[in-house]
């Protein structure tokens, strides 16, 4: 079953077209990776899916409903969770409270109903030790983990991860991959933008390549990585 479907989605900032006629479907339970050079419009595409930006043309359907004009808050309630490329924690709240906000408002539940879940997510994302620290004082890895944990706390059907492995050490990266794999195997649909390719390809089943706002490849990760276009445009290798 298709959970997310983009049809001819376009977005421009003035004369600059950052998303051009993008169409693709994501099947429920699948993990899709998105790659592309800097400035290809990957994060913009995420913002269009989450509603932080609205598209100029085209339509976005999520879970059977047209969400093209729906504000981000409602998209979150209908099951779209996200992490930000640059971590955006609620600085003055504690790590635990960051999750509480997401869980209570993202699922319209009371604090009492979600306390256990939040604690369990903190355990899963290895943040339990810093649960009562204010989020503003966290280190990079912990900030990235908090992004993931907070998105998980909204109990999403579709989770959008924006360069969550960037800037981490190999060991840190492996730990994060395992967490994401765990999530995926529990049935959450994932779309993941990542420059750390080995991390990405170890999880995703399909890969989408974006360049200058256009989809230039979509399919099996191995095939995509070996295709001529991707090597030329994305990796900068002349074939």
């Amino acid at each position: 079953m298709t959970i997310l479907s983009l049809k001819n989605v376009s977005k421009s900032f003035g004369a600059l077209t950052v998303t051009e006629d993008v169409s693709f479907d994501v099947v429920q339970g699948q993990a899709l990776g998105i790659i592309g050079p800097n400035g290809a419009g990957k994060s913009t595409l995420f913002n269009l899916i989450t509603g932080n930006l609205t598209s100029d043309a085209g339509s976005i359907h999520f879970d059977g409903a047209d969400v093209t004009r729906v504000p981000p808050m409602q998209r979150c309630l209908s099951g779209i969770g996200r992490s930000f490329q640059i971590p955006q924690p609620f600085d003055h709240l504690t790590v635990f409270e960051n999750l509480l906000v997401a869980a209570t408002h993202g699922q319209s539940k009371s604090e009492h109903e979600v306390e256990e879940d939040c604690a369990r997510i903190l355990e899963q994302t290895e943040l339990l030790d810093v649960a009562n620290n204010t989020a503003g004082g966290l280190r990079l890895l912990q900030r990235k983990r908090l992004e993931l944990a907070r998105a998980m706390a909204t109990n999403p059907k579709l989770l959008l991860l924006d360069e969550i492995a960037g800037g981490l050490t190999a060991a840190e990266c492996t730990a994060l991959i395992n967490t994401i794999k765990g999530l995926h195997s529990s049935g959450v649909t994932i779309i993941w933008i990542e420059h750390v390719l080995h991390a990405l390809t170890s999880v995703v089943e399909r890969l989408l390549v974006l360049d200058f706002g256009k989809v230039i490849g979509l399919g099996d990760p191995d095939e995509i990585m070996n295709s001529r276009e991707v090597k030329e445009i994305y990796l900068g290798i002349e074939v």
Binding site: M73, C76, H92, L93, L100, E115, N132
Partner: protein, 355 residues
């Protein structure tokens, strides 16, 4: 950590339990105070209570909602003028007319919010100030209420005010002193309701959402927080509360003029000073701040403009060296919290360690 780990969420601290008891004792003391305190003390406490209410509402707006308004005098003025209007034009009793002040401020806040919410940060601050100035100029045109020179509450209305006769008889005081006692009690009720209300709000999930919106609007929206609704909520609540306080302040003053009722210095600059030196974003901060402000004012009020310069310098020094205010310094050193809003995750069901 294993699956058997138990989690518990704790919001109270040991200090907050004893603080609760102290608060109740203080409230009882304050209620009974007019039986033995001097009229001067009652008036001073009236001033402290009303400034504290204004400070708590400004703190709710700026410290929790991230809406730094420099135009709260708009609601003080509108509240006060609505009360005067109710008494002079409709012959209302001044005490219920205070409620009219709250309603009027709320009604005025709705259209102005549409305008102000289009602005962000410093522009929002200036925008709110402009709105207040426009209101001052409009009210100055209202000839029935004295126009630019202002007016007084009619003596007949203040003499027959609710409860004053009973106070006169019970405490054996004259009309003016009875009125002071009445307004003091009303201010006490307002300050208790305000602090209790804000404390309650911050401990609900809306309080968390408010803090999230203040820290990061985009992220808050992405986790399902209705950021626009939160802004509206605090703006309207603060406007109504500020309007009530304005009406009460001018019931005690008995005389009103547009320049005084819409004074940016009296109703916003001092209020910001109180919140900033006390500690923004905490309930305890404004309480400490208003006491410091009152002491400074008592000590320095005779020095005219020097007084304002000293206030300004203290404000700047605090912002530079203790951005979370004096209460912030105290919590940093001692961990003391009288009105705790933090949700602490405690691991292990057996643990009952508190701090």
């Amino acid at each position: 950590m294993t699956d058997t780990a138990m989690y518990r969420v704790q919001t109270q601290t040991r200090a907050s339990y004893s603080a609760g008891a102290v608060c109740i004792a203080l409230i009882i003391l304050f209620i009974l105070l007019p039986t033995f305190a001097s009229r001067g003390l009652i008036q001073d406490l009236f001033f402290i209570f009303t400034m504290l209410v204004l400070a708590q509402f400004w703190n709710l707006l700026a410290g929790y909602g991230g809406l730094v308004s420099v135009g709260q005098q708009a609601f003080v003025g509108m509240g006060a003028y609505a009360m005067f209007g109710g008494v002079i034009l409709w012959g209302m009793d001044p005490v219920p007319a205070i409620l009219l002040g709250g309603v009027a401020a709320l009604i005025v806040a709705i259209p102005t919010a549409f305008f102000a919410f289009r602005l962000q940060g410093a522009y929002f601050a200036i925008g709110t100030w402009v709105i207040a100035e426009v209101m001052r100029l409009l009210v100055a045109q209202w000839k029935v209420l004295g126009g630019g020179t202002g007016t007084s509450l009619p003596r007949t209305a203040t003499r027959q005010m609710w409860v004053t006769e009973w106070i006169q008889a019970t405490f054996d005081v004259r009309g003016a002193a009875a009125r002071d006692i009445l307004t003091y009690w009303l201010a006490l009720a307002l300050v208790i309701a305000t602090i209790a209300g804000i404390y309650w709000l911050l401990r609900t999930k809306r309080g968390l959402a408010l803090a999230a919106v203040r820290d990061n609007v985009e992220a808050a929206k992405s986790v399902g927080v209705d950021a626009v609704r939160m802004k509206w909520l605090v703006y309207l609540v603060a406007a109504a509360g500020t309007g009530l306080t304005g009406a009460l302040i001018y019931l005690q003053k008995l005389r009103i003029s547009p320049d005084a009722a819409f004074s940016v210095t009296d109703w916003t600059a001092y209020v910001i000073f109180i919140v900033v030196i006390g500690g923004i974003g905490t309930i305890e901060g404004p309480i400490l701040g208003v006491l410091i402000f009152f002491i400074l004012q008592s000590l320095l009020a005779d020095y005219g403009s020097w007084y304002l310069m000293v206030l300004g310098l203290i404000g700047i020094a605090i912002m530079l060296f203790a951005p979370r205010g004096i209460w912030g310094l105290i919590t940093e050193k001692t961990g003391l919290q009288i009105f705790p809003v933090r949700r602490r995750l405690v691991i292990g069901a057996q643990s009952n360690k508190e701090d």
